[in-house]
């Protein structure tokens, strides 16, 4: 396929059929002339013309300065996380759901349309997530995690399906607000959209993804951006096959579960090297340290206020860390069974939670952004108008568990 520039002139040479007597007669040769690569006789002809035509002198100057301007423009960085998304899909195609690819050539368009279908649905999902959190459903009690996925599934649709299940829990709660019915009703929207596009997909129960957990990057970013939190992220080692490379670094059945008496934190043994690595990377790239015993109740857990504008960068950073140590990262709206006490402590002590600030690293660097932390000034905290960052709507209270 050729891309037409809609020239009315000779398609071969680009020269006008009717000579104008000006620069246009030379068209492509002007480009060579400016590059200094034009044939000597053509250069001479152009120069002869310029000597008598001030208009063309100006036009040539425009050419030269525009070319110089354009050539001098630096190229732009590819967005944060694009590489992870693309390489992730190329190297580790989604394991959860397998889509039969009807025709190879339609795949990119289908996928693109699915992403597009998903985007408006994200608002409905976020509304439910916010609703769930706002009504204080932090306890995991009553969460039935074995619900089957009835919607047509794809990696993308798993999230609205998951949100449906999250919304179902409050519906079963006799004290649940009837407003949830409306919110859950809105969730039908993404399923229908995804269904309309993905009729050729097979429905497979999502085995690797828990009933209410989100592992899709876009869904994670949307959820964090539109919520005040608390939202709960978990790092967990990717289950490995026996004999698979790196299996030896995973905590095996002999991993100690001792607790450090000082911090109440779990002691990391030799087989838990990956935990040390995760801690190191988190410390290096975010300056975050695990919460002290008073908050953590024995968990390895971090908490921070994350600015909505930095959500993508933070999610990509976590995914990058996860990829480098072979961890899975998931997002949930409530802590898992073990995390309930920590979550409660964190909510109680929310004014002690640090703020994450982002900082752009100079080139070249693998990670474009890094984060530093700052604590909320104590003076502010005692003020009566003081709003916690997530209450102010600018941040999301983010909790990160590291689990074996």
């Amino acid at each position: 396929m050729t891309y037409r520039g809609n020239e009315p002139d000779n398609p071969g040479t680009g020269r006008p059929m009717i000579p104008s007597g000006h620069l246009d007669d030379w068209a492509e040769s002007i480009v060579d002339f400016l590059d200094g690569t034009a044939e000597p006789n053509i250069s001479a002809a152009i120069e002869a013309h310029l000597a008598t035509c001030p208009d063309c002198v100006v036009r040539l100057a425009d050419q030269r300065s525009t070319a110089s301007y354009l050539r001098g423009l630096p190229s732009v960085d590819a967005p944060e996380g694009l590489e992870d998304r693309i390489l992730g899909e190329l190297l580790f195609p989604s394991k959860v759901i397998h889509l039969p690819e009807p025709q190879e050539s339609r795949w990119p368009t289908l996928w693109h349309r699915r992403l597009r279908a998903w985007v408006p649905a994200a608002a409905a999902v976020a509304a439910v997530l916010v609703g769930v959190v706002a009504f204080g459903l932090i306890s995991s009690a009553g969460g039935d995690k074995d619900m089957t996925v009835s919607a047509p599934s794809s990696t993308v649709a798993a999230a609205p399906a998951a949100a449906m299940e999250t919304a179902s829990a409050p519906l079963e709660d006799p004290e649940g607000d009837t407003a949830f019915v409306g919110a859950a009703g809105g969730i039908d929207q993404p399923t229908t959209t995804a269904g309309a596009v993905g009729t050729e997909t097979t429905t497979t129960t999502a085995v690797a993804v828990a009933g209410d957990a989100v592992t899709d990057r876009r869904a994670m970013v949307d959820a964090l951006k539109s919520s005040a939190g608390p939202l709960f992220l978990t790092f967990r080692p990717t289950p490995t096959e026996p004999g698979e490379e790196g299996a030896g670094e995973r905590p095996g059945p002999d991993g100690t579960d001792g607790t450090d008496p000082d911090t109440g934190r779990m002691i990391t043994s030799a087989s838990d090297r990956w935990i040390e690595e995760a801690l190191n990377q988190l410390r290096e790239f975010t300056q975050l340290e695990p919460l002290p015993a008073a908050f953590s109740e024995g968990d390895l857990v971090f908490a921070a206020y994350l600015n909505h504008d930095h959500v993508s960068a933070f999610v990509d950073l976590l995914r990058s860390i996860a990829a480098s140590i072979r961890l899975d990262l998931m997002l949930q709206t409530e802590p898992d069974q073990d995390g309930g006490p920590s979550a409660a402590r964190i909510s109680e002590g929310a004014s002690e939670v640090p703020l994450l600030l982002s900082r752009v690293l100079p080139q070249p660097s693998v990670n474009r952004y890094t984060f530093t932390t700052s604590t909320l000034p104590p003076a502010e905290r005692s003020s009566t108008d003081f709003q916690l960052p997530h209450e102010a709507g600018t941040h999301v209270l983010t909790v990160l568990f590291i689990r074996r």
């Binding site: 396929m1 050729t2 891309y3 037409r4 520039g5 809609n6 020239e7 009315p8 002139d9 398609p11 071969g12 040479t13 680009g14 020269r15 006008p16 104008s20 007597g21 000006h22 620069l23 246009d24 068209a27 492509e28 040769s29 002007i30 480009v31 060579d32 208009d55 100006v58 036009r59 100057a61 425009d62 050419q63 030269r64 300065s65 525009t66 070319a67 301007y69 354009l70 050539r71 423009l73 190229s75 732009v76 960085d77 590819a78 967005p79 694009l82 590489e83 998304r85 693309i86 390489l87 899909e89 190329l90 190297l91 190879e104 795949w107 990119p108 368009t109 996928w111 693109h112 992403l115």
Partner: protein, 218 residues
């Protein structure tokens, strides 16, 4: 092995390893070309989000169809042709009507600059991630054929021969389009308040028009 080793192609060995399924080769091949491919998408479709989608679509299509690359061109040429196709498809999808380039004629008169053939996209996207807005709008005001040519060569530094191969036209056509694109861009940029220092023509009464839509600038 379907691909022949091309000694003139710096990517040739990586391509062969990538075809063998070697993850590191795929990664390295991707990283070598990500920036240029993304910038190609960005400057032709006009905004970072669509550009990311286009780039993603193109890379995945390219790597999933790597076996169809026969080594007849440079890998870079082949890859960027896929990016151009994806960008072009994207632009096509956005147009409700046939491309104006097919309806209007482009007139280049002796007295002045080429007439800019407007695109049907009138809406300005306010958030452009800090890119130079006047340039972005100026590029988007170009007919696609001109836009791709000037972006490939002047912005991304592709040699004319390679750009011609990417777009499937002759080298002369590429240069001719670049010539006209530059003129159109110069006019558009001037209108947006950019001055070419060589334009200080005492006979020019226009002066500098204040930048109009620059509250979009991040």
């Amino acid at each position: 092995m379907a691909v022949t080793l091309n000694v003139r192609d710096p990517d040739t060995f990586l391509v062969r390893r990538a075809l063998d399924g070697e993850g590191e080769a795929i990664t390295e091949l991707y990283r070598r070309h990500e920036r240029r491919a993304y910038n190609l998408a960005l400057r032709t479709v006009g905004n970072p989000w669509d550009a990311a989608d286009v780039a993603q679509e193109a890379f995945i299509k390219a790597f999933r169809n790597l076996q169809s690359f026969k080594g007849e061109s440079l890998f870079s040429t082949w890859l960027h042709r896929i990016v151009v196709n994806a960008a072009y498809d994207h632009l096509r999808r956005q147009r409700p009507e046939p491309m104006e380039g097919e309806i209007l004629d482009d007139i280049c008169g002796p007295s002045g600059t080429a007439q800019i053939v407007g695109s049907s996209r009138g809406a300005i996207d306010p958030a452009t991630d800090g890119l130079s807005d006047p340039l972005r709008e100026a590029l988007l005001s170009l007919n696609e054929g001109f836009r791709f040519a000037v972006v490939l060569c002047d912005l991304l530094g592709f040699p004319y021969a390679e750009a011609a191969e990417i777009l499937g036209v002759q080298e002369g056509t590429i240069k001719s389009r670049i010539f006209r694109a530059r003129e159109a861009l110069a006019a558009a940029l001037r209108e947006a308040g950019y001055e070419s220092s060589c334009l200080r023509n005492p006979d020019d009464e226009e002066g500098v028009t204040p930048p109009s839509a620059n509250e979009d600038e991040a």
